[in-house]
Symmetry: C2
Subunit: 305 residues, 2 copies
């Protein structure tokens, strides 16, 4: 199961109801944070997640509404006595930007803080999660990320194995571990593994090949959609996407659900925004701050608030 917690869903600036960009994805007890706009640490404190369980932070691009919460979060972790090392990933420029922000105050952390700059296309692991970065199109260096759980192992059909002469206990275990026993191959009695659940987050971007290539077949696509389709010229000029462009990406990628975030606060009527998308891709929601979605192989559902 993957849980997706929207901590900040505002576009460019916060509002009474929305903090700036931040999304937490939890697999097991490990949390990966994507973007960290101002106010994110307090949003996590208000949420059911623990900020001390964050294992990595992924930054999509160095705009204030996506990074100004980073120094505060990192210092609060330090004041709370974090010992576990932490790595922040992001585009080129992340190291200089983070160094600048942390230098403002006595910015040492009591844990090892690493910065990894990516150019897009890298694949790496954080605990049980595989992460792939991809290049997006936001006028500055910008990345999106696909997070993928480890595959779910197939199920052993014990009755069938026994009918083929495998005895319960050590033999069964060896078969499970991939050994062929007296001609009985694991694949004869174990169903194929199921791909782990996956989520792709675009950050801010125009529609682009980077998004659609990397997000092919993911379970959930979290796509920025700053503007409605009527404002496509404005979206293009500001290196953003419209709601329908996000929906087109979701359709092209064959995802199970599209979650729209970073919607300009000029649009009061979120119902109209979602309708705009649903004409292209039905399984669309517009997300709000502190909403927690639970993603399983069977369902994708809003848990709270």
């Amino acid at each position: 199961m993957l849980e997706i917690l929207f901590l900040g869903t505002g576009a460019s600036v916060p509002s009474r109801d929305r903090s700036t960009s931040c999304i937490a994805v939890r697999g097991g007890s490990d949390i990966i944070l994507m973007d960290c706009g101002e106010g994110s640490q307090r949003q996590i404190m208000i949420s059911p997640f623990s900020f001390m369980k964050i294992r990595a932070v992924l930054i999509t691009h160095m705009h204030g509404d996506h990074v100004f919460g980073l120094p505060g979060l990192l210092q609060t972790m330090s004041l709370n006595g974090r010992k576990e090392p932490l790595t922040v990933y992001g585009p080129e420029g992340l190291r200089a930007g983070l160094d600048a922000m942390m230098s403002v105050t006595e910015g040492e952390t009591c844990y090892d803080l690493s910065v990894v700059e990516l150019s897009g296309g890298e694949r790496f692991s954080v605990n049980n999660m595989t992460i792939q970065s991809y290049v997006t199109d936001h006028g500055i260096r910008s990345l999106g990320y696909v997070l993928r759980e480890a595959d779910y192992p197939g199920k052993l059909d014990k009755a069938k194995a026994m009918s083929l002469g495998i005895s319960p206990g050590p033999e069964m275990a060896r078969l499970k571990n991939g050994e062929t026993i007296r001609g009985v191959r694991p694949e004869d009695v174990i169903s194929p593994s199921t791909p782990g659940l996956s989520v792709s987050y675009t950050g801010d971007s125009r529609p682009c090949q980077g998004i659609t290539e990397a997000s092919k077949g993911v379970d959930v696509l979290i796509h920025e959609s700053t503007f409605m389709s009527s404002e496509s010229a404005l979206a293009h000029d500001h290196f953003h996407s419209t709601v329908t462009q996000a929906a087109e990406a979701a359709r092209a990628c064959g995802v199970r659900a599209l979650m729209l975030t970073h919607i300009s606060n000029r649009y009061d009527d979120r119902g109209a925004v979602v309708d705009d998308a649903r004409s292209v891709f039905a399984e669309t929601v517009a997300v709000d701050d502190l909403q927690l979605y639970e993603v399983t192989t069977k369902t994708i559902r809003l848990v709270e608030p």
Copy 2:
């Protein structure tokens, strides 16, 4: 009348209930912001004040919980089309720190942004408010500020003036403007002016002479009180004050009210904190986020929430 709006009252880190340090003082429609911890811009948006009416920002010291909200606020003002110039005042190091934070992203503002570094003891005006900086003791360069309204002019006793032969209209106006008319001096018929209301904010500091000298006779003393009196050694070691040290300063200065902020969140029981202070200085409150106090020559009262 002065209004004091507490936007962030947490110590060092935010919590579910408290944002980091930020206080807005409003005189007329002009707002002066003191400190700007992470999340301050959103707190203002939630409050009854308008962040576009901020005329100056005063920073006490360059610790993250007092400044990490600054770049976001300044950029949001820019995105909202602010035209009026803005000056940020603070201790030496402010310029480099602010430049560093603003450089992280494309940090240009569409209005003139000035930085004034102070060393303590300066006196300057922002619209109708006079501001005096003072040196505090926080282990790094740190300042407190006294904000004072212009004096309230005395009242003309019209009946008395007429009985002394002054005719209503132009003569009365000339007398009001300070002219002596046929031997009748303004002070014969106009009551003395009343000093404008004043508030002193210590920022983070050990008890020190800077605070007590500058805050003598102010109406409201906003004093940090990170620790209770039982933890005075800890307070000293971390360059902070205890609740009773704040109360002693209030008593020494003869203020009308003491407002305690920046109380460590290890103290759940704010009643006990206030009791600790009231044994020394009765007119004490511990303030919470989004509380608005109205200060007049007659009363100091909590208006909301």
